[in-house]
């Protein structure tokens, strides 16, 4: 059901950082582009990382990688300045084995830190380290002090998709590729299913850019291409507050590294690296993952056991299919695969490997290849042109006065929307009630929710979680769900049944990460959640009720 004029130049599959980044680059270079994401932007691998865009301190054995990462961080500090933040980090050297291993690295990292405007790595004594971070154990030997940049990965993916749309691309989330249309040695398009309506359709294009991360093999298989990857699971534990003032890194029980990063209003402890061989959709944090992480970081931060875990989070890394080395030794670089060359199949290109921090250069290389094949000459500008919200200046105090709202609230909005913040605040001119804070943990106002639902491809409460951090704080949506569901119902004109189901889905998604490790005070928090939604709102019998109807 498609004539030639409907044909796209590029069909990008996958709305993570590499896919959304590729769609943006293709659209900016004038290619007719469609971006397809089966769930929501940033709901896969990109959305389950700690958001660190490291200058590459972990890859000192790979100087090229360090140079590449550093360059990309410098770009991101410009094009996504409003969602990038700096975090000082202490690497605690916990024992003699650790000390020996740390001092044998080849590259001098300091030459790169200056480029990012970051402090150089300084070796400091145990006493100095404990002064900076009192939660550190007094049994550590030595410490290194440096800093790294972080980014909000959810917004990064969405902003790339939004920018692609602003440059003429068609952008669709909740659209799953269910088949690849291949004729002879050429891929001609994809068959997709709209997950909201259940409708299927065919989309034709000159190129399919397979940016599906750990699901790359699945898409390739649909085109009868065999493309194994090394899938590697990374689990995180999330705590209810900022436990430490700075990030803490230390050697894990098995010799790898683990980290504890304060992240917005929470703290993220990560990560594991276990190879997985099953379906990446089924990857889950296990009890052992959690114990491994806590027992490892405990050596540097002994009080961590008393901290309150709010949830766990798990993602799958799409690593290069290199074996016989440990995950830590494997490169984090990426490969761009031209399947015409490798498998004799035209019209499809894909990524293997990669990392969040280099998503842009990955996208640039892929777009270069596609342009070259299409005979299009256009320059990459994704490192120069700012993403939406990074174009202008932010003046929180001025806006707070102008709109009569707390600076704290505006600061939060600005940390997500940068120079577009006034567009949100303007909504409160006509409707002052939109100033209401719906999610108190993360300071999310009704105005911001409505703006996001109107402008940022959000269609559910779970999408709003990724857009504006709704329900991401200590209460994990206990106190915002019942307020948020009425806002989304009004904004999207949902039926009450749809809205209640949306709220249940939102709670279910939170529960998936909570039920693995419901401990300590979080048990009582959950009792309250249950008492509100099952007890008072009667959601445990409600689903039956709608069916009867």
């Amino acid at each position: 059901m498609s004539c030639l004029s409907d044909e796209y130049d590029v069909i990008v599959v996958g709305g993570g950082s590499s896919g959304a980044g590729t769609a943006r680059d293709c659209a900016m270079r004038g290619l007719k582009t469609v971006l397809l994401e089966r769930n929501d932007f940033g709901s896969g691998t990109s959305g389950t990382c700690a958001g660190m865009i490291s200058g590459g301190v972990k890859y000192l054995d790979e100087p090229e990688m360090v140079a590449l990462c550093t360059k990309e961080v410098v770009h991101l500090q410009k094009i996504a300045k409003h969602i990038v933040f700096r975090l000082p980090i202490i690497t605690a050297i916990v024992n003699e084995i650790d000390l020996k291993a740390r001092t044998s690295k080849k590259t001098d990292y300091s030459q790169y830190t200056a480029l990012r405007g970051a402090s150089p790595i300084t070796l400091i004594s145990k006493e100095e380290a404990c002064k900076i971070e009192p939660k550190l154990s007094d049994k550590i030997l030595l410490a290194a002090y440096f800093d790294e940049m972080f980014i909000d990965p959810f917004r990064l993916c969405m902003l790339n998709a939004l920018s692609a749309k602003n440059h003429g691309a068609v952008v669709r989330n909740y659209t799953e590729v269910i088949d690849v249309i291949r004729e002879g040695d050429r891929v001609k398009g994809v068959k997709v299913k709209d997950k909201k309506t259940g409708k299927t359709e065919e989309i034709y294009g000159k190129f399919v850019a397979n940016c599906a991360g750990p699901w790359v093999p699945r898409i390739s298989k649909m085109a009868s291409i065999n493309q194994p990857l090394r899938l590697n699971k990374g689990s995180h534990v999330i705590f209810d507050r900022r436990i430490t003032g700075v990030g803490v890194v230390c050697r894990a029980l098995d010799g790898r590294s683990v980290y504890l990063f304060p992240h917005f209003d929470t703290t993220v402890l990560g990560t594991t690296a276990w190879d997985i061989f099953g379906n990446p959709d089924d990857a889950e944090t296990s009890y052992d993952d959690v114990e491994y992480l806590i027992s490892s970081i405990e050596v540097a931060v002994p009080s961590i056991r008393e901290a309150r875990v709010i949830r766990t989070m798990c993602g799958v890394r799409p690593m290069l299919p290199e074996w016989w080395i440990t995950e830590d030794e494997a490169t984090r670089n990426f490969k761009l695969i031209d399947h015409e060359q490798r498998d004799g199949v035209k019209g499809i290109v894909s990524f293997e490997g990669g990392k969040l921090v280099i998503y842009r250069i990955m996208a640039e290389k892929m777009t270069d290849l596609i342009c070259q094949k299409l005979g299009v000459e256009a320059e990459c500008k994704t490192h120069i042109e700012p993403l939406p919200g990074a174009e202008g200046d932010v003046d929180i105090e001025l806006w707070a006065e102008e709109y009569n709202m707390p600076t704290h609230t505006i600061g939060r909005i600005a940390s997500r929307h940068g120079s577009n913040t006034p567009e949100i605040l303007n909504l409160t001119r006509e409707n002052p009630e939109y100033k209401s804070t719906i999610c108190r943990c993360e300071s999310v106002t009704e105005a911001e929710m409505r703006y996001s639902l109107r402008n940022e491809f959000a269609t559910s409460l779970s999408d709003l979680r990724r857009r504006v951090r709704l329900g991401m704080g200590p209460c994990q949506s206990t106190f915002c769900n019942f307020k948020a569901l009425t806002v989304i119902a009004d904004e999207l004109n949902l039926s009450p049944e749809q809205a209640h189901k949306n709220a249940i889905e939102f709670a279910q998604e939170r529960w998936r990460g909570k039920c693995i490790l419901l401990r300590g005070d979080q048990v009582s928090e959950e009792e309250l959640n249950q008492a509100i939604y099952a007890g008072v709102a009667n959601y445990d019998t409600l689903s039956d009720f709608w069916e009867e109807d």
């Binding site: 009630e433 307020k483 419901l518 309250l528 109807d549």
Partner: protein, 444 residues
């Protein structure tokens, strides 16, 4: 310091037990570390709403009878004599006690000048802020007037306040009218409106308590009544988010006269004004009977051999030892602080009593994950929230062997195992009935 009865916890169970013991002339002290979990409740008295299978009880008494017959470890069974007793006798005894305890509760509320309405022989459905409902038994008259049966064949208007984010009358009205057919009621019309509350115009982040306080102010209430009259042309029933803290019944009357309609309150989520009112009323009733209720008293340790000899209580920074003849453990579930998780297993917080799941498994040996469903709101609830301590028919905590752990310790409320108040909709009912019995038993 020495008292006759020491009650741990100032929720519905503890305050009921304290009042009963005080009414018998005993010197009663209630120690409460914070505010208790009852304050987080919706403020109505659910007694028995559902079986774990989702079967809806037509009345609380039917629920109590079925539960007492079928579920031997449920508090409603235990108070009727427990496992050893003939089922028929158990059912009879249990129902008798539930009726007595709730009659006593209603009278005690009357004594503090609040009407709780409803009957054990008919469950009513009450609507909440998001336009869904739950079955309940007794409610303050301000809420009872809005039970769904009352709304049949009439016109209903849900009234809200702009800038109060907990409650959107438009959504509530839509949800209510969508659900109504399934409740076998046919309202003639369902609408919504927004009401200006003097002093809260043009604002966001309005709290329920702010609306309530304005309702309690006679001048403001009069203006609210006038606004209601202006906004609403005609309706049989008007739903409002809250009627006030101090004088909700009088306030509702004033508004009803102004609007020429039946006015009622919706049930709501924490921080809920009716929940707050319920705790205050229970506390007042207990104090009127002579009990002393102390907040900021945290029990941190116990001196026991075969009896509880004294409790260590943290008051401010000081630790004081308090002796009593009898102790009542009404410390709540996880939310209240009576139960806790420690190193993957469950513990009772004050006396380190063994904790059991509803099927009788000792939870010192079972990992917590086994008590959770992968479904967030499963029918019948998560097993975790029906765990607690086991008691005998006198409500004395018992050991694995079934023997009382301490001769002078009784327990009441959600620290008990064997029931899931969230799924059953039985929280306040079990708390008040077991509190009542514990109070009687403690008084000898």
């Amino acid at each position: 310091m020495k008292v006759d009865v020491f009650v741990i916890g100032a929720g519905a169970a503890g305050l009921t037990a304290a009042r009963i013991a005080a009414e018998k002339g005993l010197k009663v002290l209630v120690a409460e570390k914070g505010s208790g979990a009852t304050i987080q409740s919706s403020g109505v008295i659910d007694v028995a709403g559902y079986l774990p299978s989702g079967f809806l009880f037509a009345s609380a008494s039917e629920g109590v009878r079925i539960i007492a017959r079928e579920n031997k470890s449920h508090p409603y069974s235990i108070i009727g004599g427990g496992q050893e007793t003939e089922p028929e006798k158990r059912v009879k005894e249990s129902e008798k006690l539930v009726r007595k305890a709730l009659k006593d509760f209603v009278e005690s509320m009357n004594s503090v000048r609040v009407n709780f309405m409803g009957s054990l022989d008919e469950n009513v459905l009450v609507t909440n802020f998001v336009g869904t409902f739950k079955p309940t038994c007794l409610c303050p008259s301000t809420i009872y007037n809005g039970n769904t049966k009352n709304l049949d064949n009439s016109s209903v208007i849900f009234v809200g306040v702009k800038g109060f984010p907990d409650y959107d009358p438009k959504f509530c009205a839509q949800s209510f009218s969508d659900i109504a057919p399934g409740l076998k009621i046919k309202p003639k019309s369902v609408n919504h409106a927004y009401l200006d509350i003097p002093g809260l115009e043009g604002r966001g982040d309005i709290l329920a308590i702010e609306i309530a306080r304005r309702m309690d102010d006679p001048e403001t209430l009069e203006k609210i009544g006038q606004n209601l009259q202006k906004r609403i042309e005609s309706a049989d029933h008007i739903a409002i988010p809250t009627a006030g803290v101090k004088s909700p019944e009088e306030n509702i009357k004033t508004l009803a006269e102004a609007a020429g309609a039946n006015v009622f309150e919706l049930t709501s989520f924490p921080p809920s004004v009716p929940g707050y009112r319920l705790v205050k009323l229970l506390e007042k009733a207990a104090q009127n009977a002579g009990a002393s209720v102390r907040r900021g008293y945290k029990v941190v340790g116990a001196n026991c051999n075969k009896m509880v000899k004294s409790l260590k209580v943290e008051i401010g920074r000081k630790i004081t030892e308090i002796e009593a003849d009898v102790y009542i453990l009404a410390s709540g579930s996880f939310l209240g602080g009576g139960l806790k998780e420690e190193k993957d297993f469950l513990k009772e917080s004050m006396f380190n009593l063994p904790v059991y799941s509803s099927d009788g498994t000792n939870l010192e040996e079972v990992c917590l994950e086994k008590l959770l469903s992968r479904n967030v709101f499963p029918m019948g609830g998560h097993k975790l929230f029906s765990s607690g301590i086991n008691v005998n028919e006198k409500l004395q905590p018992i050991s694995d062997k079934g023997e009382p752990v301490y001769g002078n310790l009784y327990a009441a409320g959600s620290v008990l195992s064997g029931y899931n108040y969230i799924a059953e909709k039985s929280g306040m009912g079990v708390a008040i009935v077991t509190g009542y019995l514990a109070g009687l038993n403690a008084s000898g």
